[in-house]
């Protein structure tokens, strides 16, 4: 049943990133998914039937802007600075997969995101989904996707490094690729999150 839900929603979900497209991925996602099998995220479009069910429910709709390191971060040293010189002004995430090994890094991450109508609510599903909904008959956390997310100056790099900090002794880093995204990303439908395990 869950697989049907996932399949049908994945088919309906649409992602359209104009201009340059992200290729980012994270090995830790796989680890997380393997470790935590007891919740599921599915996707569905927001149709009129779903809209009708929303009335009277106490969710919330969030609109606004999110800026990541718009003017640089709080560190100011030889490696980090503001966005007006050659030093990094974005954030940096470093992870070490093996003891005494190197570090995987998502580096110099920054950008601006604008969206209107990201919704969050709890909804009960007991119909629809090609008949699976009646059997499903439980509540889900519905994340209503905002339709369009506008991105400005979204940048990051992916690489490996010898040390977590660029200021550590012996620091060396090799970037695999860098990404620059501009434009609108269309995200329609809903993401449904629901538990499947026991306490």
């Amino acid at each position: 049943m869950i697989s049907t839900l996932l399949k049908s929603n994945a088919r309906k979900a649409r992602s359209d990133i104009r201009n340059r497209v992200s290729r980012g991925h994270c090995a830790c996602y796989g680890i997380l998914a393997a470790a935590l099998p007891l919740f599921v995220m599915a996707m569905e479009p927001l149709d009129e039937e779903s809209m009708a069910q929303v009335a009277g429910q106490a969710g919330m709709s969030i609109s606004g802007d999110v800026f990541i390191n718009e003017d640089g971060g709080p560190i100011n040293n030889a490696s980090f600075g503001d966005c007006t010189d050659n030093r990094r002004c974005g954030a940096r995430l470093a992870s070490q997969f093996s003891e005494d090994g190197g570090w995987w890094v998502l580096d110099d991450f920054r950008g601006r995101f604008q969206f209107d109508g990201l919704t969050l609510r709890v909804r009960h599903i007991d119909s629809g989904f090609a008949g699976d909904g009646a059997e499903f008959n439980r509540s889900v956390l519905e994340i209503g996707l905002p339709g369009t997310i506008s991105m400005e100056e979204v940048r990051y790099s992916v690489g490996t490094s010898t040390t977590p900090r660029p200021t550590d002794p012996g620091f060396q880093q090799t970037n695999f690729y860098s990404v620059h995204m501009e434009g609108d990303m269309r995200l329609e439908g809903n993401a449904l999150v629901f538990p499947t395990g026991n306490p």
């Binding site: 680890i31 609109s63 802007d65 709080p74 954030a91 940096r92 499947t196 395990g197």
Partner: protein
Amino acid sequence: MMTHNLQAPYMPLRTRFRAAILLSLTALPLNALASISGMQSLNDEEMSSVSGQAGLVIESETRATIDRLSYITNGNGIHFDGIELGAASQEGGVTSQRHDISLRDSGSMNILFEVDGRRLTVDDIRLSDRPDLSMGGFYLDQNRIRGNLTISPGGATSDSGFGYDLFYSSTGGRFGYRTNDNHLILDGLGLNFFSLGMSLDMEGDVAVFRAPQVGGQFAVGAIRYGQSPDNFRGALNELPSMGGLTLDFGFSSRFDFQAGGRFGNEGLQINSSTLLNRGAFIYSTNGYNLALRDLSGESHLRDLRMDVARDGSGRLGLALTLGEAEGELNIGRIELGNSGSVGGLNLQWLYADQLVNDRNYSNQVFIQGGGNPHSGPQGLRLGAEWSLADGQIGYTTNGNTLYITGIQSWGEGDVTLDVTRDGTLEGTEFYDGLRIGFEGMAGGYRSEGLRVGSENAERQAGMELLGLHQAFEYDALDGQITLGPIGEGGGEGLLINADIIIRDALSGALLNEDDTGVWAAGRQHDIVLRDMTLQVTDNGLALVLDEGRQLLDIGDLRIGHRDSSHSFGRVSLQTYETGSEMTISGLGDGSEGLRIFRKRILAEEVDDDRRNRFVWETGRQSENGVPVNGSGLQLVLENIHTSDGADLTGQGGISNTFGLQTDTRINVRNSTRTAGEPLGLGFENRTRFRELNVGSMDLVHPTGGAATALHGISLQNMDIRSDLVVTPIR
């Protein structure tokens, strides 16, 4: 002994005769002593009106003692032991007072009174069933009292009543509450007030007291803490201050008194209505104010009864039981330091009996002696039960209002009040200050959620962004909060030490009308705060924490109905902070709004009690139907901590001073990004940190042991700013 100087009738005041009469003060009833209160100097106009009238001057020097005064209803009593009325300046001394009494042509009687340096002392307040325990003692100094009381025949509704006009002022007073040789002192008390047109009438068997026009100011120069086997006298500037208070007020009231208790024929029944026309409350430290201005509102009490009676556990107490209380309080502006107005608040309440979870809750408190059982024989214990049947909070910024509607709250348990000192007694750790203890509390609250713009606007979520649960219930809450002085050159302010333990709690978020939502069940929450200072500063209300530890363990995180079976599993978050700070203020830009700045220093792991750690556990095994922690598969983030990533203090090594900084601004405004620009909860946040590190991420199998998936995670140089408006789903 007391000397009365009497003036012969029909003689001008200034040519009075004096006659000394010695009276035995032990024969003087306390209510007669209590009636000698208040004073204002005669001005020339009043003097001219009095001149030529009948007059009597009583000048007295007083010291009175009463071994015991008892209030008894239905065979149960509360005893006031060791009562003394004497001098504030020295033990055993006398206090001087003067009363100028005159009769006016209108038939009214005018009493001018002056009192200087008087102290009323009560050593102990005990209940008749527990003579070994006391509620503690108190002393009240009344200094430089000047007043004028006019009593006129004829009440508000009948000729048989009386009317009263009173002007009263006093300065340099003191109130000390003591338990076990520790003192909480309201020092430098000042009171100026007037009450015009007061009346007392008997309407059937009801005594009706009306005070249609009351106004004035009340001030506490300093709230002090001290330790002494004797009651404090004289200047106390050497004792540390927790700050000062000022209250301005203007109101009208009506009180109906009649006989009849809740638990027997004897007792007192009170109904009252009060209309607050104006008011302001100010708490100040070091010259900076937390001010609640433009106060107004109303309060109605119905069927408040006072008895000495036993509670549901058979403990005798001074019982205050309430039928209903309904009211409203408007706070026009809240100002913190010099940061501008945070906005206004409107609070509405209806306290009444209600049925919650198949149990009836009412509003009552049984005041008992003893306090915490380990702190000594003196202290207060309040056996309480409360029931807020309907409440509402309105928060207004720049003319726009956000409401939390349909608030219900209920619960029961004991609250203890003791003035304590640093040390361990019978295994319990105490701190300097006023200790508010919680024993066996069980209760909860829930609300409909937010409404923006009007009380009838569409319901929406968003309380979660304010750090509030939409619903919260707990089966057990124990612990204490001690409010003491900072002292040691830290200036005026509060030093807070707290230990709170919450067991078997349930919280809900994103709730719908059918109670479906996100539920966190089986919550266990331990909170430890050590040496947290609270002061009003130029920038706002500042809190600085020396050490804080929390363990929040949610046994069952789930989505659906509160009894839903499907679960995400167990989530546990342990935090350990040192040197964290928080400042609550206005926006500081001329507009109204709330700003909360937090700097959280997440320290490196010290031991199992002092660390930052996150656990997500699924698939726990059950024993007798109860899931056992550690029996499932766990994802563990160990040794989470912030870091400067460099030595910023010059002390060597990597320092940790920047922490995790969040700067949040909250107001009520329109969402300009959304069609129609609906009104919503404005939420602007900036989060910054130099480094947020995780020592390791482990996967722990109950039999296979731990396997490290990541040997380190370091997130650096982060600055996230969001500017969001939260509205109903459309």
